[in-house]
Amino acid sequence: MARILCAWEYGGDLGHVRRIVPIAQELRRMGHEVTMAFRDSAFIESSRAEGFETFIAPLLKLQREMNPSPLNFSDVLLNLGFKDTRGVAGALRAWQSLFDLLKPDVLVAEYAPTALIAALLARIRRVTVSAGFSVPIFSDPMPDLRRWQPSDPNILRALDDRLLATVRHAAGARAQLLPDRAHALFHANAHLLCTFPEIDPFGPREGVEYLGPPADSVGGADIPWLNETAPHVFAYLKPRAARFDAVMAALATLDAEVIVAAPGLTADRATALSTPSMRVVPGAVNLDLVMQGASLCVSHAGAGVPARAMAAGVPMALLPLQLDQFLMAIRIEQTGAAVISNPEQPAPDFRAWFTDVLTEPRFREAAKRLRESHGTHDFGKAATRTAARIAEVAQR
């Protein structure tokens, strides 16, 4: 029996919690003692209700003014509070106290860079679990996140140096235990990527294990397709997205049957937006069911929905809202099965844009090729396989 602490520090929304909880349940089934440390108290109830003792993760203060286009992984972290030496020192200290209290044999980091560094200082084994974005490319300097654009290695190195200097200063007398390269701060005994290599924002790459995307742990409403002859368009959208209204308006005019899942929407608004051909659900839906027979999947390119669309061979229209989604969307676009609407550029005519993906055969063909690669992926076993790898590291 091992003691395993799962830490989540960064990234909004429920995605991180949904990834880690089923893995933790598997670990517990295997007889291990699992505790959690989450950044957002609003999501603690999701793991507490499953019986996991859940602490709050030490928090860094975000920069007041965030740089919307960080260059490399160091820059991302500098944006997320790593410019503040005192804050990092305090957080490292608090992780150490939590380690003293819980005595974990292994730390599982779900986008938890401070916890990874604290575990390195405490000589605790480390595993990362992610969809790829939170595991940087281990090179010196860490590369530009937008690998397709030219970048100045001196600027990248300066960012790495700044991050490393902050961490070293924050670590105080224990700085001697730290590596002399920024990327090495985030090395681990295993990097478990719960995704497909095609949608790893930095993939395909060496040094990580692709265990495939997990099942949707929360499920959702069963919404069956009703019209057998019309194309089926499924959209998973965030009501807070800037272009939500424009996208909804375009979806409503498509010559298709449309199902929209929009968690966070009020029930009244969902009803008001629904039409005879478009059902709007103010919550999650059963993705297995809705992907069956879908002709187009519209999403923000969060990790979960595109993986489902890939395995089901459904072409995609992607509306990324943030950098990690944009990077993943670029990767999906490279498969030929998707189009991207760049949030920093003027919005397309959404109706024409959707219609294009629905009617151009090349999208269907590319999606079919993805299904051939991944159609047999067993989503339900991904958590078990991930848990088994964590247990191996814990007991090594």
């Binding site: 603690i44 109830e45 507490r48 602490f55 709050i56 005192r86």
Partner: protein, 407 residues
């Protein structure tokens, strides 16, 4: 010896950490084991002796205050700090339960930590408040308003209380714990160390209460002496982020007065502008005790230091940055012992206030008259009495936990 957890959950000033630290050090000296469970870990590195304590992140809402109207009561503040939904509060409570369950405090000392108080109540832990009173409203139903400069609708107060209470009870139900009848119950303690005096209390309508006097420690920090030059002696303890920082620095630099200033992380250009043989700009916190004996004016934001220095008869110029500080500033102005300048005030007000406070002797007379009402107060005596009372509380028998899993 006992295990003492200090909880600081809301309110954003270093003063919370400093005050807890002073008391914690004294408790350690008595052989107790200390944990800090703080909302801001950044502050810890200002405290040099922290290495001896355990340190944890306090459960907070990361969406704190977003989309909330101006608060008028503690219930309003709670609604903006995770008490909007039972699920959210249940998450914060679960995290407090987890830390208390594992660390096993014998006593929880809370500073603006209503959720820690609720968790401690449920777990049957001994608990006290240690604050200037703003976070400890009189235990009435509904919890009374602290806002006094705008009308507060009594119905609105009752609504906020009802909403926050419904969230509390919704969260408690998730743990199988019986509901509360009123938010006031959440705030029940074994003792309230109201670290102020009635004249400066955020709630002037508080029913009979014990007051312990301001919580300050003026005997730590860099040794500084007033420069030998002429002019008044002005101590300055503000943050660089204050709206009027440049006006204040310019006004002080143009004045004939002596200055001893600590402005954390002050940028070099501003420091160079202020610094002179007559004006000390310290890189570290200053040991204020010796300076206050012949100080003519303290410039601050109205945190603990302000009522603390008032006990030495020092007039006050206050630049409040939030409502709690504004309440202190307003009460000091009412006493005639100081004045305040709000963030929206024109630049001329800063210069005029500084001039008036430096030259009008009535402020010093009022400050000294106030201090003379409490001849028995000193920070050391206040702390000694608090420590003795805490030892009594620790010696009381523990109560059972109401958590079903603990039965």
């Amino acid at each position: 010896m006992a295990r003492i957890a200090f909880a600081w959950e809301m309110g954003g000033e270093l003063g919370h950490a400093m005050a807890c630290n002073s008391l914690a050090l004294a408790m350690r000296a008595r052989g107790h084991h200390v944990a800090f469970i703080f909302r801001e870990l950044h502050s810890l590195t200002h405290l040099p002796v922290i290495a001896a304590h355990d340190v944890f992140q306090a459960p907070v809402s990361i969406s704190e205050g977003e989309g909330q109207p101006l608060p008028s009561s503690l219930a309003d503040i709670l609604l903006g700090c995770g008490y909007d939904r039972p699920q959210h509060l249940a998450g914060m409570l679960a995290a407090w339960f987890a830390i208390f369950d594992r660390w096993k405090p014998d006593l929880v000392v809370t500073d603006f930590s209503p959720t820690a108080l609720l968790a401690a109540r449920v777990m049957g832990l001994r608990r006290v408040t240690f604050s200037n009173g703003f976070s400890v409203p009189p235990r009435l139903t509904p919890l009374p308003a602290f806002r006094f400069d705008q009308g507060v609708n009594p119905e609105k107060l009752a609504q906020s209380e009802a909403r926050a209470l419904a969230t509390v009870n919704g969260a408690l139900a998730r743990f199988g714990v019986a509901p509360l009848r009123a938010l006031a119950q959440q705030l029940e303690t074994d003792e309230d160390f109201l670290a102020t005096f009635p004249e400066l209390d955020s709630y002037p309508n508080r029913p009979a209460a014990g007051y312990w006097g301001p919580r300050v420690s003026f005997d730590a920090g860099a040794d500084v002496k007033w420069p030998a030059a002429g002019g008044r002696r002005i101590a300055v303890y503000v943050k660089q982020s204050m709206r009027h920082i440049d006006t204040l620095i310019d006004a002080l630099a143009a004045s004939p007065h002596r200055v001893a200033a600590f402005i954390p992380d002050l940028d070099p250009a501003r420091a160079a502008k202020l610094r002179s043989p007559a004006r000390i700009v310290s890189e570290r916190a200053i040991k204020l005790g010796p300076l206050l004996r012949d100080c003519d004016l303290l410039v601050s934001h109205g945190g603990n230091i302000c009522p603390g220095a008032l006990m030495s008869g020092v007039p006050q110029l206050v630049f409040p940055t939030q409502y709690e500080q504004f309440l202190t500033a307003h009460r000091i102005a009412t006493l005639g012992a100081g004045a305040w300048v709000g963030p929206e005030a024109p630049v001329a007000d800063v210069v005029a206030a500084l001039d008036r406070l430096a030259n009008d002797p009535s402020f010093k007379r009022a400050a000294q008259a106030y201090a003379a009402r409490y001849p028995g107060y000193s920070p050391a005596e206040q702390q000694r009495r608090i420590l003795n009372r805490l030892d009594e509380i620790i010696a009381k028998p523990a109560r059972p936990s109401a958590l079903p899993s603990a039965k």
